[in-house]
């Protein structure tokens, strides 16, 4: 009996080993499950920024704590609670998925804690649910669909076939596309979340003969769809478009030739011509031996943004308002070039169309066109801060 109590306390005590000095940054991200690579890239991009300064950000020593949320909202919340209550962390970041973000963010920003999003930026947090303690460094989720909607209209496609998983994010993304697309919607099809086989949908697309196809199928679903679409011989007949989520460098190498030539929307590409980006891509490849993805870029930018603000307040977080004000200035060199925050503390940035190409080192994207300059998200006006 005593043993059990002892073991329990021992286990409990283990969670309580920490050193106080540097500024703590708590990263909650997804490292396990099928989507684990998203969190891995986010973390690695973030870590790169710290490593480049030798353990500091903006000259202030920092300690990055990273933990896997397993894509489970309640686990994410548990980790956040521990970071805040036990480790006294004031800066949180890193969540990949909207559902985890929705469980964690609204709660933590009501406390005296800043959350910076490296990826997930659901519409609820951009509009009515915006908060002075919440910053999205990535985008608002719909941005990358809006840019494709605009581009597909500009290209002159008169009709489009829409495809997304049957969950709220899927509907949001299609809504983003439709906001800027001016042609006809042939059909709007929602598939099962995590679906593997798309033969039925592809047959229906072939029969419907749209001029273009737009899909939002993140992760493995996108790989499955693209491969099967190309195998069905449709790749040559009806062009597909999508947001960058199905076209990051790590997915592309799993899709292979099926994705070559597909145009997709993103706020960043490794070939963007600015100094910060050139050195980032070079350093990332050196450090990790693979091409950075947009998630890595977002993680890196977030770290550098934090650095700029820490520098401004000399690492003193006692006055959180000063730190927030410094964050809002976005006084750092983003790998995206232009970067500033809008009224809802979401990025006002350029958004591009890029194209999948094959190079000696594998599959990647090249920038085709800047479609939006200083693009503001659709929900900013609903945010009252």
């Amino acid at each position: 009996m005593k043993k059990v109590v002892f073991v329990l306390f021992f286990l409990a005590a283990c969670t309580h080993l920490a050193i106080a000095e540097p500024v703590k940054i708590g990263m909650i991200t997804t490292l396990s499950t099928k989507a684990g690579y998203l969190g891995e890239d986010t973390r690695d991009g973030f870590k790169l920024a710290i490593a480049q300064e030798g353990g500091k950000l903006g000259g202030i020593p920092v300690e990055l704590m990273v933990e896997d949320d397993g894509r489970k909202p309640d686990k994410g919340k548990q980790i956040a609670e521990r970071y805040i209550k036990k480790d006294k962390v004031r800066i949180l970041t890193g969540i990949v998925f909207s559902n985890v973000a929705m469980a964690v963010v609204p709660k933590v920003v009501r406390q005296d804690v800043v959350y910076l999003s490296t990826n997930a930026a659901p519409s609820k947090l951009a509009g009515k649910g915006c908060s002075p303690n919440y910053f999205s460094v990535s985008y608002q989720n719909d941005n990358l669909d809006e840019v494709v909607g605009q581009y597909v209209s500009e290209t002159g496609h008169k009709s489009v076939y829409l495809l997304a998983p049957n969950y709220p994010a899927g509907k949001d993304h299609l809504a983003g596309f439709k906001r800027y697309f001016t042609g006809d919607i042939v059909a709007e099809v929602y598939t099962k979340l995590g679906q593997a086989d798309y033969a039925a949908e592809i047959a229906a697309i072939r029969a419907a003969k749209p001029e273009s196809v737009f899909f939002f199928l993140p992760g493995g679903m996108g790989i499955n769809f693209l491969k099967q679409y190309s195998q069905a011989g449709l790749g040559r007949e009806i062009p597909v478009y999508g947001p960058a989520f199905s076209f990051d460098e790590r997915i592309l190498n799993a899709v292979g030739p099926a994705a070559v030539g597909v145009k997709n929307g993103s706020q960043w590409t490794h070939d963007l011509d600015n100094e910060a980006n050139r050195q980032f891509v070079k350093a990332y490849v050196e450090a990790y031996g693979r091409m950075p993805t947009l998630y890595a870029g977002q993680g890196y930018d977030t770290a550098r943004l934090i650095g700029s603000a820490l520098k401004a307040v000399s690492g003193n977080l006692d006055n959180l308002d000063a730190f927030k004000a410094a964050l809002k200035k976005a006084d750092f060199a983003s790998v995206r070039g232009n970067f500033r925050f809008g009224t809802n503390q979401h990025p006002v940035q350029d958004v591009y169309i890029r194209e999948v190409v094959k190079t000696d080192t594998g599959y990647t994207n090249k920038t085709v066109k800047k479609v939006f300059a200083d693009h503001v998200d659709a929900y900013a006006s609903q945010c009252k801060m």
Binding site: L31, S32, T33, K34, G36, Y37, E40, N166, E188, V189, Y190, T191, K192, L193, G194, A196, D197, A199, A200, E201, A203, A204, A207, G219, G220, M221, I223, N224, K227, Q228, Q231, A232, G233, R250, I251, N253, A254, V255, G256, P257
Partner: protein, 304 residues
């Protein structure tokens, strides 16, 4: 009309892929009375090994040739180390142990191959499409999958109906002690059966590689579908697995393909789309519940 035929073909093809998975699982269930949640892990191992070898060698066939023994070997090791101790135990223990194995294998693939999905190409000689009927083009690779599935079904039938080993295996399923008394090495026999089951899972995995994303955790989504197939067909019955797989494949595909159209006749289009897609994603579970209500042991129960 052509679309209906094509969707039927799609359903059939999905069914055959499911059959490849189910055949191995139903063998293990029916003969060894072991519930193995980790069956999906061997599917994953087949896909990963196949993709890796195919990428390194440039040959799809070499990939298949490597994936099959890899999955079978892993299966036999697992049988030898873990499951052998659990035959006499309750299903609950088997469920939990194999649940642990899923965690282990998923994380292990992440450690070995990294977190990003792997790429596996359709071999050139199976690429492209053929025109089956005027206006009905179908990918050759999918036809090949149907062919492999049918071949597996026939050879399993032959194994069990025609060979001595098959008879021993079936007898072992009926009465473990009796067969042991007849001088058959039942332990070895079980290891072999389990190996055969995981080999089939590996085959399913490597065949799915060019169509699907090869990623950690890919086994679980198909595992649950496979359960549905087996339960509908009747545990332990190859015939049932064929019937269940085709039924599930057809219901799933046709539901996805035609439910929205049906519902659009009844409701306005946005309600119809969302109701239809929810219903389509639940269709096979509804099918399973319906079958079990009528026939609690499935369509073709193995031992009556």
């Amino acid at each position: 009309m052509l679309l209906v035929i094509e969707q039927f073909l799609n359903g059939l093809q999905l069914g055959i892929t499911l059959f490849l998975m189910s055949a191995g699982l139903t063998l293990v269930f029916g003969i060894m009375q072991v519930i193995n949640l980790a069956h999906g892990s061997f599917y994953m191992i087949g896909a990963y090994v196949g993709a890796t070898v195919a990428a390194a060698s440039g040959s799809f066939l070499l990939g298949v040739a490597a994936a099959l023994p890899a999955a079978a070997l892993c299966g036999m090791v697992v049988e030898f180390v873990v499951l052998r101790r659990l035959y006499e135990r309750e299903h609950l223990d088997q469920v939990l142990a194999t649940f642990g194995l899923i965690m282990f294998f998923n994380e292990l693939t992440r450690i070995i191959w990294g977190r990003q999905p792997l790429f596996m190409e359709v071999p050139l000689w199976l690429g492209g499409s053929v025109e089956l009927l005027p206006g009905l083009v179908y990918p050759v690779y999918r036809l090949a999958v149907i062919g492999v599935g049918l071949a597996v079904a026939v050879s399993l039938w032959a194994l069990f109906a025609k060979t001595r080993l098959g008879m021993q295996i079936r007898a072992g399923g009926v009465n473990r002690k009796m067969v042991g008394a007849l001088g058959v090495n039942i332990k070895l026999l079980y290891t072999l059966v389990f190996g055969l089951g995981t080999l089939l899972a590996g085959l399913a995995g490597v065949m799915a590689g060019p169509i699907l994303a090869v990623e950690s955790g890919m086994g679980e989504s198909i595992l649950i579908l496979t359960f549905v197939v087996i339960v509908i067909g009747g545990i332990g019955s190859i015939r049932g697995a064929v019937a269940g797989a085709v039924l599930v494949g057809l219901v799933d595909t046709l539901g996805r393909a035609f439910l929205p159209a049906v519902f659009r006749m009844l409701f306005d289009s946005s309600t119809a789309d969302s109701v239809a897609s929810s219903l389509a994603s639940m269709a096979i579970y509804i099918l399973m519940a319906a079958v079990l209500v009528v026939k609690p042991k499935g369509l073709f129960p193995a031992h009556s």
